[in-house]
Point group: C2
Chain length 358, copies 2
DNA sequence: GAAATCTGCTTAATCGTTTAACCAGACGAT
DNA sequence: ATCGTCTGGTTAAACGATTAAGCAGATTTC
């Protein structure tokens, strides 16, 4: 006695209706020639039996797995949930699954993660690269989400212009001395944001960039950034290039008794989870992750569709490997004004006399 | 002319050595009977050709996809990166891939997410349920990570005892009036934590629980929680059951000019990304996500291994569907003492005269 | 009215892997 | 000498889907 397999499959439907599997397949996919009545009968029977196509069978035959890979860089990055959610949403709307691979730590791990995905036959992948990383040639289409200024980038938020918006906002509030707070100069994203902010400042204003990772080299991880001192020197705006740094600035200033936004304004980037609930709530820039994900995924899907069923082992060497490009590669960010930014304190335009600590 | 397929497969290796595919398969899997020399020769040829087994072919034959699903609840939950990373690590160490499904929002979506995973033939899944959700019967093994007190839980951090540790810590520091800050009473995790904290307090001490979500019903999302008022009433410790609430407390107190930890101590939970870098750095409890993930994944893998190749459509109705259980279901959390908690301000032991807010 | 076209379906091959079943030869035991 | 066992392989049949090719009958075309 032949053992009964688990789920209903094409041949079960076919048998139960006395037709061939090919007809059932055609009816359900709408590809072959099947009469309207029969097609309808097949569809309803399929639904009735709870038919779910076997991805394995389909993948084997078509050479497509129906799965996209998602490679995330710094897992610590709290932006991860947003991106992952957006990508998963866009992918599943298109009938694709999302396999995650986390390149914990160094670049070597990133390559390993990519290989794991390839071994699982992903049809394409979305990579949010570790800062400063170049994506090597990969055997499948790749969408890169980094920064518009990065060569080989597929789509990203317009970080530069977002910086510009923050800068404009601070200028409009009358700030004249601003500290720009970033983490690491190797990040294209951060550089773009810093550049954007700077571009908004008028010549007579004063700006200073603090790279947190450098400060921590001496002070140790999580050390204070000396912002209170900056405030005493007459800086009234602290524009962080990420909400994490903004939070750091906010608490450091508050701890030192410097009121925000009365004595100093603080702004962030990315509208992370805590931004609306801290006191005062953070003024920040929000990425349109939904749009970015949709663009990335659809560019990827286009590339996948164009692929010949049998892929040549050696992809023709294009400019950036298999990185796909999208019609729109810059997505604007949105300024969210909350309570952490306010008018520059009046009478503060005169520079504080040179009492620098250390 | 037969068109050349892309990757090297078993038959290519077989042909190139003049043996049968079955032998190659046996040699590589180590299952059948193959002489040592031939096996070695096959392995080296496979490596030489860069052979990667086709998951699709294998999945079709074995009925196992080699993929686990991961269902995450509140995407907003910043714990997500940690868990996802840990699960992905444990799974990939065992040769499994991880497919994510995000149950954005309501319970209905959670069910949809689960269905998407099933359609992709996952061999099992890890579910971090939305608070208060019961997992319905599913056609594959399921590991649930929620709270030890939840019926049908597979493995979780020992939230209650973690609360206890925080409570002990505050008692040791001499605090006598503590505000416990939570978000939603429907969450088992939060309830456990609150219970643990309470259990540490001696009878003559005073504790009050604030449920943020309730307060926000009136005040609006992100409104102030009235903690400064509590501090004035004589409360010296603010124990939040999540770092997000702790952060909220910290900034709210600082903004009101109440020094932390000099005038009030603040503690959190989960050691999230910002905890070490805010000023003062947060005292908090850290989950051993690595251990939890390993336990969840290995329990899942055991259940998968025990499964008959052909699964019966109707799983025998066990107590909690297909939820697997693990030998260890409670993983201890670790107290991380930082600067946000300190000795209770002296001279404050006398109760502020009986002005209780509602 | 014979040839071409269309319609609706079936047959059969194929994707790459695993695995039960079989088989020829060598060897040891009775 | 004969039977059983072991060794090192081979053959062939799946798994479930897709799709090119074929085929009978009806319809159109000139």
């Amino acid at each position: 006695m032949a053992l009964a397999r688990s789920g209903p499959n094409l041949s079960r439907i076919a048998n139960s209706l006395g037709v061939s599997v090919a007809t059932v397949s055609n009816a359900l996919s709408g590809k072959g020639r099947v009469s309207a009545e029969l097609a309808e009968k097949i569809r309803s029977r399929a639904a009735e039996l709870g038919y779910v196509p076997s991805q394995a069978g389909r993948a084997l035959r078509t050479g497509r797995s129906g799965v996209l890979g998602l490679v995330l860089p710094d897992i610590a990055n709290p932006l991860f949930p947003n991106i992952a959610q957006a990508i998963e949403f866009a992918a599943s709307a298109a009938g694709y699954g999302v396999l995650i691979a986390d390149s914990r730590g160094d670049t070597a791990m990133q390559m390993e993660a990519i290989n794991r995905l390839i071994e699982r036959d992903v049809d394409g992948m979305v990579i949010v690269p570790r800062r400063g990383t170049r994506i090597a040639d990969i055997g499948c289409p790749v969408a890169v989400i980094d920064s518009p200024s990065t060569p080989g980038n597929t789509v990203a938020a317009d970080h530069w212009h977002a910086g510009r918006q923050i800068g404009d906002h601070l200028v409009a509030l009358g700030h004249e001395r601003v500290v720009i707070l970033a983490n690491n100069p190797d990040s294209n994203v951060q550089n773009d944001r810093v550049g954007g902010i700077r571009s908004a400042l008028t010549p007579h204003m004063k700006a200073e960039v603090i790279w947190a990772e450098k400060v921590e080299l001496n002070g140790g991880r999580g050390c204070t950034l000396g912002l209170a001192e900056k405030a005493r020197q007459g800086f009234t705006a602290f524009a962080a290039v990420s909400d994490l740094q903004a939070l750091r600035a906010l608490t450091e200033l508050q701890q030192a008794g410097i009121g925000v936004p009365d004595c100093a304004s603080v702004t962030g980037f990315d509208d992370l989870i805590w931004s609306p609930v801290v006191t005062p709530a953070l003024t920040t820039m929000r990425m349109d992750t939904t749009a970015i994900a949709e663009i990335a995924v659809s560019a990827l899907l286009d590339a996948i569709a164009e692929r010949p069923m049998v892929l040549s082992a050696r992809p023709a060497a294009k400019t950036y490997g298999n990185v796909v490009s999208a019609p729109t590669s810059k997505v604007p960010m949105q300024l969210i004004i909350r309570q952490s930014s306010g008018r520059a304190p009046s009478g503060n335009t005169n520079l504080a006399e040179g009492e620098h600590a250390k």
